[in-house]
Symmetry: C2
Subunit: 620 residues, 2 copies
């Protein structure tokens, strides 16, 4: 147990010697902390350690650790607050807004201190939840700061509460710098606030043993001076040792330079294309004019890490082949530095440590691309809040390309450009949806990590994989067409599976002829605004559609009805043999029922109002 | 308090004298009843009397009384069971099915008796609710049978529970004729079951005082022999006394011949058109070939009653004018006899008693027709489970036809033909939805009563009234077009309001020219199947549309987009002056938020399993 004075010093609050001179306010806050710690530090310890850990703010004032119980369907949080001032907000919201958020609030009115389950309305004002679903288990002073331990069920019966589900969770936080007379007096708009994206419900995958001949190789940034700007993608080319033979990568993990934990947002290692003998070496921002053109051919993902992700272990029967003949010796490391405080002069050597073995495992792991072809025929009208596009991997393609024993998907990386808001892939068999492969209802293009699936998904010849992306184009004036550009859109699920097959791409797009029928139809209803002559490009045609509810609804109806063109490809250029144009849309006769989340009525165990953590007496 | 023996006799169970000879089964059931009554009859009496009353089954074995508390948001039910056998089911379901129903079950396993909140799955099997939301308050033997008193909140937190809301509620019942070893052993498919439609949440309207010069007039069937068939609409023409001067109807009520309470389903009194000097007298089935053609001009509703409805009081400042010059002396009574057991030889003189006064009230009450014009341009594709059509009363029409002080709607009668499933009218002002005029999410074309609104709705010049109907055409092979025929459809809300204005009809339909563009478009996508030549009628064109998701979605998009043709009429033939064709659809920029029903967590007060009502010991 720490002496109160030491905690106060750590918390940057006036120590006992300074107290007599302190203002009443300062005193009250100090008392708040001291008594809070004294009152609760004897409570029960956490039931299990916290395997997951993430800094919430760029300065590292708030650190979150958590664990998940899929049996009890709850999450235990440990929030470590360095230098507590007058309180803290923490919670979750749909996309990281501080309005309409589900929150826990620790605050003081200058005398007493309180902990409560609350929510913020659309104006940011905070209200007490009718039902208290965050349960405070412990508040304890530690040498590192105040540690708050609390738990929350995935689903509560309170309509104001966030439903904790698979995929991205937008955590939000706020710092209270002064006491508030009541919870309702707090408005998030006046506070220092922020958000952090994380996958809270991580897969509980058994860690396979590493064979004795496991070696490691670190692909790290070469002592980079992090630019003093909010966003930097750093590109660094390195090469495998000469004569490096064929190995299996069986695990990889992030190596973060100490002190840069809040700056390194995500990192990926790509292998360059084997077609080219050599690649120019390079270290610099990926958008630099100095970056050699050829580096665009270094796009085959070997490893990917994002904030909050732990070590990535391949299933013990599979590994990713690299090295040896037929594979490029060149690797590209990409590091995304997120530096909103524009800190200058920080150096970084973060990267990814590959664990590999020469004892090849039974299966090669592969990556397959599902979703939409990168083509402008798939477009999103402007001013849409939730427009969905769907790409298919048809039964005809899986019948041709998958082995009779099927493949097993063990991980997935979802991908869209800037307007993507949700992504889901569903497996269908015999016209019936059977299983969700991966779903993210709070998907963010700024948080694209490879996620282990909670349960491997087997796909057999004849199965159908349906990938749907939902986009928000509220702030766009023209249609957003499919394509490679950052202002164009994609809908992709990179599935990680074994055994590796020749099938690299199983994607679709609407038949181009039917889209021309659509443009004719638009012209019939409105004045002849869309050029349907052969020289007009599809992006030009979409740009001249006069958008209204009819043209939008009919485009949606077209995508739900018209035949598709399939890319059932061995690589991005080579198709499997067969007829792939004017294919019928897969018929899905029965869909998976949305499970009603079983909410646990925690009001039975919890208080109906704020927990009064201590009673201060105004002056010490 | 009744002696047990007397209750048993009343309940058609063996009396004490017969007991010794009774089978073990009979004995157990008898004990079940006796002990049940003994165990619970000391419980609390109902908190208030039951203003509403309805027989549930055609034989009158089950009678339901109820009251509503809008403050506590709950309903108290009193279920009277004549001749209890081994138990009873009672509950509610979406449209009166015994599958997927929310139920209370009173049953015996031969020994003990139980009361429980339960639900039936899609196969009719009964399961215990995780949460017990029906609370048994009393079970009492009365001279008339067993009386069960229980209550239920409008909304519970249990996803298996029915949400009690405004509009029609489909009550369901079932008779248990033998003991079941457990609740799960009961399947509704093997039972005698049925349904009864009722408006549970009736308006609590203050009853205005009747003036001293109130007279009554009964419009009753002339001792009709009820036909021994399931459905009969009886038509009877009668006339007002010669020289009957102008009066105000200020109240009306049903007069049901004793014993026929379960047979008389609904009744309406219509006034004939003033254009005709005389009408032939008639008494017979409305579909009789003998019915004079001219009776089709007797369609102006004066009064309407349906099963479960109480007396209808006009607001004290308004009455319906009848009698005097310019109004027909002829009235038509229509009685719907619902006789599923095909009872023969029953005679009936039911009808409606009008209460009227010569002291005319301040305002004449009027009826206005909102919704869709009766025209085939508004059509529903086949195989739809919930296709919505919408009719508008535009700002332009209300601007022209309503007085500056507006009108007040106090009652509403919703109307569709056979495929109607939901009806709602919403008031919008300045592009914003403001208020629901009337809504029925469980609307049935077999239960069209005039309903008092819970709150009068004021409509001012410039307001918009949007009436939407949802149809189910799952069992139809061709499109269902709008029209007068019973196999065609309507979407109408007859609103009752004051002061009466010249505006009798405020309805819309899609512009006919835009519908032709739709047929052209269908031809463009499919083969040229729809004749778009001038001689083809719209019903013929709809009949030749090859229905698929695209043609359906585009029709929907057309109805949501295309300009409308307005009927803003003084009578069905005379329009207000103005341009009413090619009118823009009213723009609704913000819609009313669906209120999240506040469910009360009744598990705090209620048991988590069945209430064991008594413990039988096998033999008495």
């Amino acid at each position: 147990m720490q002496a109160p004075s030491r905690q106060c010093r750590r918390a940057n609050l006036p120590g006992p010697n300074a107290r007599e001179a302190a203002s009443m306010y300062g005193t009250a806050v100090a008392i708040f902390l001291v008594i809070l710690v004294a009152a609760l530090q004897g409570s029960a310890p956490p039931e299990s350690p916290f395997p997951y850990h993430i800094p919430l703010d760029p300065e590292g004032v708030l650190e979150l650790s958590w664990n998940v119980s899929y049996v009890r369907k709850d999450v235990h949080f440990q929030l470590l607050v360095h230098g507590l001032q007058a309180g803290v907000l923490f919670g979750m919201s749909d996309r990281g807004e501080l309005q309409g958020a589900d929150l826990v609030v620790l605050w003081t009115d200058g005398g007493s201190a309180y902990f409560a389950d609350a929510w913020s309305d659309q104006k940011g004002q905070i209200h007490l939840d009718a039902q208290q679903d965050y349960q405070l288990l412990q508040a304890q002073g530690t040498p590192d700061g105040l540690s708050l331990l609390f738990k929350r069920s995935f689903a509560t019966c309170d309509p104001q509460d966030y439903l904790i589900e698979d995929g991205t969770v937008h955590l939000v936080y706020g710092i209270l710098e002064e006491p508030f007379r009541s919870l309702e007096a707090i408005n998030t708009s006046g506070l220092q606030t922020g958000l952090q994206r994380v996958q809270l419900l991580k897969a509980e995958v058994r860690t396979p043993a590493m064979p004795p001949d496991t070696h490691t190789m670190e692909i790290r940034a070469p002592d980079v001076l992090i630019p003093g700007q909010e966003t930097t993608y750093w590109c660094y080319i390195t090469e495998l040792p000469p004569g490096f033979s064929r190995h299996h990568i069986i695990m990889y993990e992030a190596v973060i330079t100490e002190g840069n934990e809040a700056l390194v947002h995500h990192m990926e290692v790509f292998q360059c294309a084997a077609e080219f003998e050599t690649f120019p070496l390079f270290s610099g921002p990926c958008d630099s004019k100095m970056k050699p053109e050829r580096l665009n051919y270094c796009r085959h993902v070997l490893a990917a890490w994002a904030l909050g992700a732990k070590a990535f272990y391949y299933p013990e029967e599979a590994g990713v082949a690299f090295g040896g003949p037929g594979s490029s010796r060149y690797l590209r490391l990409e590091v995304h530095y997120h530096n909103p405080l524009k800190i200058q002069g920080r150096r970084d050597s973060s990267g990814i440590r590959l664990h590999y073995t020469a004892t090849l495992r039974r299966f090669n792991a592969g990556i397959m691309e599902l979703g939409l072809v990168y083509t402008p025929v798939m477009a999103i009208p402007p001013h849409e809040t939730a427009f969905m596009l769907t790409g298919y991997c048809t039964d005809k393609c899986t019948q041709l390309a998958l082995p009779p024993s099927g493949i097993r998907i063990f991980a997935s990386q979802l991908h869209t450009h800037l307007t993507g808001r949700k992504v889901v892939t569903v497996l269908a068999r015999d016209g019936q949806e059977r299983e969700i492969v991966n779903r993210d209802n709070h998907y963010s293009p700024h948080f694209q990590e490879i996620r282990m699936l909670k349960k491997m998904v087997s796909v057999y010849p004849g199965d159908v994989l349906v990938t749907s992306c939902t986009y928000n184009t509220e702030d766009r004036k023209l249609a957003t067409v499919g394509g490679f550009g950052i202002l164009e859109e994609m809908c992709v699920n990179y599935i990680h599976y074994y055994p590796q097959t020749e099938l690299e791409l199983c994607k679709s797009a609407v038949d181009a002829g039917f889209l021309q029928k659509y443009f004719h139809l638009v012209n019939r209803f409105d004045s002849e605004g869309v050029c349907t002559c052969p020289q007009a490009s599809v992006p030009q045609q979409f740009a001249s559609v006069p958008w209204n509810s009819f043209n939008r609804d009919v485009l949606k109806a077209l995508y739900d009805f018209a035949p598709i063109s399939m890319h059932c490809n061995k690589s991005s250029a080579i198709r499997f043999q067969g007829e792939w144009d004017l294919q019928p849309l897969p018929k899905i006769l029965s869909t998976l029922e949305e499970p009603t989340p079983q909410c646990s009525a925690s009001q039975a165990q919890s208080p109906s109002g704020p927990t009064r953590v201590s009673i201060g007496r105004g002056r010490g």
